[in-house]
Amino acid sequence: MNVFSTTLERTKALLERAKGMPKPAKIAIWALFVVFLFALPVLNIPVITTPDSDFGGVLFTVTTYVLVALGLNIVVGYAGLLDLGYVAFYAVGAYTVGVLGSAHAHLPWLMTVPIAVVAALVAGVIIGAPTLRLRGDYLAIVTLGFGEIVRITLINSSWLGGASGITEVPRPPSLTVFSVPHLDWSSGSPIVDLGNTTTFLKFGITDQIPYYWLALMVIFVVIFFDKRIKDSRVGRAWEATREDEDAAELMGVPTFRFKLLAFAMGAFIGGLSGALFAGKQGFISPDSFPLLLSILFVAAVVVGGAGNRKGIILGAIVVAYFPERFREFQEWRVLVFGLALMMLAIFRPQGLIPPRRTVRAKQADQKLEALEEGTASDA
């Protein structure tokens, strides 16, 4: 616990110093970081790389979790609505791609994605419109129920492939630009392995890395829009609704409409990640969308610090990556994951990286308390 907080303090200090740097240096550091992210799967860095499963595939899973967490963060973090059935939108996105690309039509993947995203958005509005008037905990159980309804409908509907799902889902169109060799660390130091290369954006079956690259690009686009919307009037309306719905309503914020918007946007991003998942997997079945996944998504958001973009990205990485990295302890990992969630909740109740507003709110609370105790220095 102590070690953890000191490392956190140190990172904070480092970030503080980074803030003082001139702008070109900052841009250069970010650019380097982005390049590093893209290069991650071919670098094969020993400790990070998962020994028991394909590292490219694991990275892709991590990126889908990040994408889903970004979407769910709008619902849970910004608007403060607890959604325990988020996997439903993920499933709607994936199945739209499956149905239009393989089961009932043969559209190419790129054409199915916009339809999938819109379908998820419509599903979000359909679910949100009647249920968003309910209070928090009721919303949680209704969304949970909705997630289950979607999954059971998928199992029982032969039109949607039934329990065996849909096969031969179209893959994203390939675009062969250049090949990147992998690094080989087996001798202890890195050697460029020319026999093992990945072609940039060639979407095949065996090599998962191009999917990771695609998902990464999508994430950057989503983060860009997420940042803009959070700092806009809409973002402020969400914050007001989350903090005090009645007060927001009195101040002229149409809270219901904004909640619905948050729900729809969350569903949109959920559908997008579902479409990516279907395109990579090439095969989808109801088993890919269990209730547990919804809970893991919420865990990713809350673990990182709901409402903080960097936090939830970290949370998604923690939730998706560690179980894969420690696959050799397969049997014990869920147990360890559960214990870790509890420890985290107890020792960092605001999440790994708490959102700025809670820090601000905390200071306000402290001030108020000081006033009440009569110990305020400047009162």
């Binding site: 849970v76 607890l82 009647p130 249920t131 008037r133 309910l134 209070r135 905990d137 009721y138 949680a140 159980i141 209704v142 949970l144 129920g145 909705f146 289950e148 309804i149 059971i152 409908t153 199992i155 029982n156 209730l291 809970i295 919420v298 865990a299 809350v302 673990v303 709901a306 049997e331 014990w332 869920v334 147990l335 994951f337 559960g338 214990l339 870790a340 969630l341 509890m342 420890m343 985290l344 909740a345 107890i346 109740p349 605001q350 999440g351 809670t358």
Partner: protein
């Protein structure tokens, strides 16, 4: 439709027995929610531990079918005692480890849910890994009958063979049906009276109504919360035995779906409301049975959730409203 009409009474009786189990588990959710405003996600695990310890106790006593009546009664009593004690202890331990530290730090409500989810995973995995855990002490061979097949369904010895007692129109009501329904209703009456009349019950209601005012009036909040978890756990333990008598098998993750259903029942009746949980449980059990008879058993869970959504649309606080605090003194 014809199927529903032909089997109306058998569907009704099985629906009521199922609903009784839901209702007992739902009480645990509703009590904790009323006092703490917290969805105790790990309550399903409290129930699951009850099923396992009850099963082990019967195995230990050599329970088998066709025994004499005093022996059967003895086994069932032991099952109840063991399951209620274990579930109660697991629930209290859960509160101590997973929730109390959070409460002391004024954590946001969402993070309590994460702690609850973590605890739920950890508890159910501990049971799923029981063969490995026993292996650490070199006991996995010796205790094979108890810890073997850790990831599969395990069956409890059938100590009470269902025998028809009387007939409603065309359905023969068995002794198990009667035991489950009467037992569950008895438990609920005891609980209801406990919360309404006893001193501790008054404390529970006071904390549910206004925690701060209750604390000012000298109610020991931590103690009340502990008692609430204990009572909820005991109810889950009783539900576990009824479940075993009715269904006969259990598994390390058996609590999950039942927990979701029971929580649905609690919300259906109005969470925080004891009688609501009772009504919600029975309504859910019946609706599931009728619904699956109408449109097919594979849609059973869909019926339950659709019913919940429809009822919440028209009565946003459940059938009876939320009122653990408001019950008359």
């Amino acid at each position: 439709m014809q199927y529903l009409i032909d089997n109306f009474f058998s569907l009704t009786v099985t629906g009521i027995t199922l609903g009784a189990v839901y209702a007992l588990v739902a009480l645990g959710y509703t009590l904790v929610y009323g006092v703490l405003r917290l969805i105790n996600f790990a309550h399903s695990e409290v129930f699951m531990y009850g099923t396992f310890t009850a099963m082990w106790s019967v195995m230990l006593l050599g329970g088998h079918s066709g025994a004499s009546i005093p022996a059967v009664i003895g086994w069932i009593v032991v099952m109840f005692l063991v399951a209620m004690v274990t579930s109660g202890l697991v629930a209290v331990g859960l509160e101590r480890i997973a929730y109390r530290p959070l409460r002391k730090r004024n954590a946001p409500p969402l993070i309590s849910l994460i702690s609850a989810i973590g605890a739920s995973f950890a508890l159910s995995e501990l049971m799923g890994l029981r063969d490995k855990l026993a292996g650490f002490f070199g006991l996995d061979r010796k205790l094979g009958a108890y810890v073997g097949q850790a990831r599969n369904n395990v069956a409890v010895p059938e100590i009470l063979t269902p025998q028809p007692v009387f007939t409603i129109v065309d359905y023969q009501v068995t002794n198990v049906d009667i035991l489950v329904v009467v037992g569950a209703i008895l438990m609920m009456i005891v609980l209801d009276q406990f919360v309404r009349r006893s001193r501790l019950g008054r404390g529970i209601r006071a904390v549910a109504q206004d925690p701060e005012a209750a604390a000012l009036m000298g109610v020991n909040r931590d103690r009340v919360i502990q008692v609430t978890f204990l009572v909820g756990g005991i109810m889950a333990g009783a539900a576990a035995v009824f479940y075993l008598l009715r269904i006969g098998i259990t598994r390390y993750d058996a609590g999950f779906l039942l927990g979701v259903k029971a929580f649905t029942a609690a919300v259906l009746g109005g969470i925080g409301n004891l009688r609501g949980a009772l009504i919600g449980g029975f309504v859910l059990g019946l609706a599931e049975n009728y619904g699956s008879a109408l449109i097919g058993t594979q849609w059973k869970d869909v019926v339950a959730f659709l019913l919940l959504i429809v009822i919440l649309l028209f009565r946003p606080t459940g059938l009876l409203g939320e009122s653990l605090g408001r019950t008359r003194a």
